[in-house]
């Protein structure tokens, strides 16, 4: 299952009340403080449920999750591996 940046943008807008204008594909989400650790927990839960993947603690990093583009690529990779 592919997960794309547009879908994830929608998730962030709905879940965290963010504005579309602040969410370019490469805009830093966590390192910028736009989302915090409480948002992270919610987001992980959502990604695991909707993409049917399990994200291990060791995978929770800025490399995998700090931008919409990275997040989409990460979830896509995980979904493919789970199949």
């Amino acid at each position: 299952m592919t997960c794309d940046t547009t879908q994830l943008r929608g998730v962030l807008i709905r879940k965290f009340g963010l504005e579309a204008g602040t969410l370019a594909g490469d805009a830093p989400l966590f390192s910028s403080g736009l989302l915090d650790s409480f948002n992270l927990v919610d987001l992980i839960e959502h990604l695991e449920q909707t993409a049917n993947i399990r994200i291990t603690p060791g995978e929770i990093s800025l490399e995998n999750l700090d931008t919409l583009d990275r997040m989409a690529a990460f979830v896509t990779r995980k979904s493919a591996a789970a199949v």
Binding site: F30, S31, S37, F38, N39, V41, P57, G58, I60, E63
Partner: protein, 493 residues
């Protein structure tokens, strides 16, 4: 990186500016900034100039900040340009200019952050008494809105010395400052390092991977953290089979940590001593499990520190012995001065204790609201709360506050907020609401308004919208237990 001399220069310059612009002794000055060197400089400068710093959690909403502005009669508020438009109206109405690094970007009164650099001869900074307030820091109670705890210079100095002593802080220490300065424990990260001549390292993102990276990159020697920090960091390290031998001390507090996480700490922090501690905003850093007792007393609140008096009392009965449950009461220099402009709340928690009259007469003590039990070795164990206050991820959360915010967010007849623990041991808030008119309920609008009213750490993780009326235990009174039982396990709507 800012060295001691430069820090001093910046603090003195800012303090001088405040005095030249009319700061009077004991005036309150707000700080609503991300954790940063600016935040540290501002709070130290306000203190040096004889004012009272009011650090507000940067996650607070503008509405909450405005309330604190009015409540404390704030003279100025240090904040960021991004917050200016939301705060312009209250700043104008209350005569509290915003001090920002980029002025002129919005309406309302603002002044530029004073430039550092050599100034004219420094004014004489006022001599203070140790009873003078250093700060007003807000904390939630079980009822009503957050209360401003009045913290004296003595309270901070006493605690700072206590902590630095048991941690053995020295000039080679580098502390990663994860705790916010909107809570006393956060400020103490800064004071203990200033005292010891050590270093404060500001973290990047709070993700465990980033915390580990900061620790390695800056050779951090110790840190203090709340339960989510430890759960996240330990799980991360164990998942990757990694350790952090850089750390020589770790301090836990703020609530329950799953035993599996505590038990793993000696493995993932192989060179660290673990200090389990306890305290409240109203009486902070009061008890400790010495590291040598860690393995035997995992999960304990500890024993009272030096120069701290703690009693366990049962109202109407007396002092509790080992194995008996009672409320933990603090007495002495550890007790803060009360709640700002809230005599009722102050009188409710800071009062004399009839059960101690024989020993200390009617001396004022602080009732923690925590029910505890002491074991045979004198170690305290948390049993529960006397009231309904929740401790979620190290933050006090008042169910009433969330319920009020939900009802104010509009078109909600009843709201029930409660805490829930997930599999990994993290706590979250669940909110069940009964819309006034189910058919007309706008979920997105409700979310938006609730988000405006509550900071992220109070925001419910699960929302259950009741399509049918909630069960009542009495006319007009919701049966909370029944609502919680039925909402538990309902799929997220």
């Amino acid at each position: 990186m800012v060295g001691a001399a430069e820090l001093r220069a910046r603090v003195e310059a800012l303090a001088a500016w405040l005095l030249r612009h009319g700061l009077r002794r004991r005036d309150r000055v707000g700080i609503y900034l991300h954790p940063s060197i600016d935040q540290f400089v501002a709070l130290l400068a306000v203190s040096l100039a004889g004012g009272v710093f009011v650090v507000l959690n940067h996650r607070w909403s503008p509405a909450q900040v405005a309330r604190a502005m009015a409540h404390t009669g704030m003279r100025w508020l240090f904040t960021q340009a991004g917050k200016m438009s939301a705060l312009a109206a209250p700043a104008q109405a209350l005569g509290c200019p915003l001090i920002v690094r980029e002025p002129g970007l919005g309406p309302g009164p603002s002044v530029p952050w004073p430039a550092s650099g050599p100034v004219e001869p420094l004014p004489g900074f006022p001599a203070l008494s140790d009873r003078d307030l250093a700060a007003i820091l807000y904390t939630s109670g079980s009822t009503g809105l957050p209360k401003g705890v009045m913290i004296s210079h003595r309270n901070f100095l006493d605690a700072s010395h206590r902590i630095a002593e048991y941690l053995g802080n020295h000039h080679g220490d580098r502390v990663l400052a994860l705790l916010p300065c909107s809570a006393p424990w956060g400020v103490l990260q800064l004071t203990t390092m200033l005292q010891a001549g050590g270093q404060v390292v500001l973290p990047g993102a709070s993700m465990p991977a980033e915390v580990a990276r900061s620790i390695r990159q800056h050779r951090v020697t110790g840190l203090a953290g709340l339960p989510p920090t430890w759960i996240g960091l330990v799980d991360y390290l164990e998942d990757r089979g990694e350790t952090l031998p850089e750390l020589r001390f770790v301090t836990t507090s703020g609530g329950v940590i799953p035993d599996r996480v505590l038990e793993a700490m000696p493995r993932v922090f192989p060179r660290a001593e673990v200090f389990q501690t306890y305290g409240l905003s109203e009486a902070f850093r009061s008890t400790l499990v010495p590291p040598s007792w860690f393995a035997r007393k995992r999960g304990s609140l500890g024993r009272p520190c030096r120069n701290v008096d703690v009693f366990v009392v049962q109202p109407g009965k007396g002092r509790c012995g080992p194995g008996e449950r009672g409320e933990l009461v603090h007495r002495g220099a550890v007790v803060t001065l009360g709640y700002w402009a809230d005599p009722e709340a102050t009188a409710a928690s800071f009062r004399s204790c009839p059960e101690l009259r024989e020993e200390i007469s009617d001396e004022i003590v602080h009732y923690s609201g925590d029910i505890v039990e002491m074991d045979a070795e004198g170690f305290l164990w948390f049993v529960g709360r006397r009231d309904g206050l929740l401790k979620i991820n190290g933050h006090r959360v008042s169910p009433e506050e969330i319920e009020s915010a939900a009802v104010r967010a509009g078109a909600v007849a009843h709201a029930v907020a409660f805490g829930l623990e997930d599999q990994s041991g993290c706590h979250g808030i669940c909110l069940a609401i009964q819309p006034a008119r189910a058919a007309a309920f706008d979920r997105a609008e409700f979310d938006r308004r609730l988000r405006d009213a509550l900071p992220s750490y109070q925001f419910p993780r699960k929302l259950s919208v009741w399509a049918e009326p909630m069960p009542l235990s009495a006319p007009g009174k919701v049966d909370r237990a029944a609502v919680i039982r039925r909402s538990f396990g309902e799929p997220e709507t």
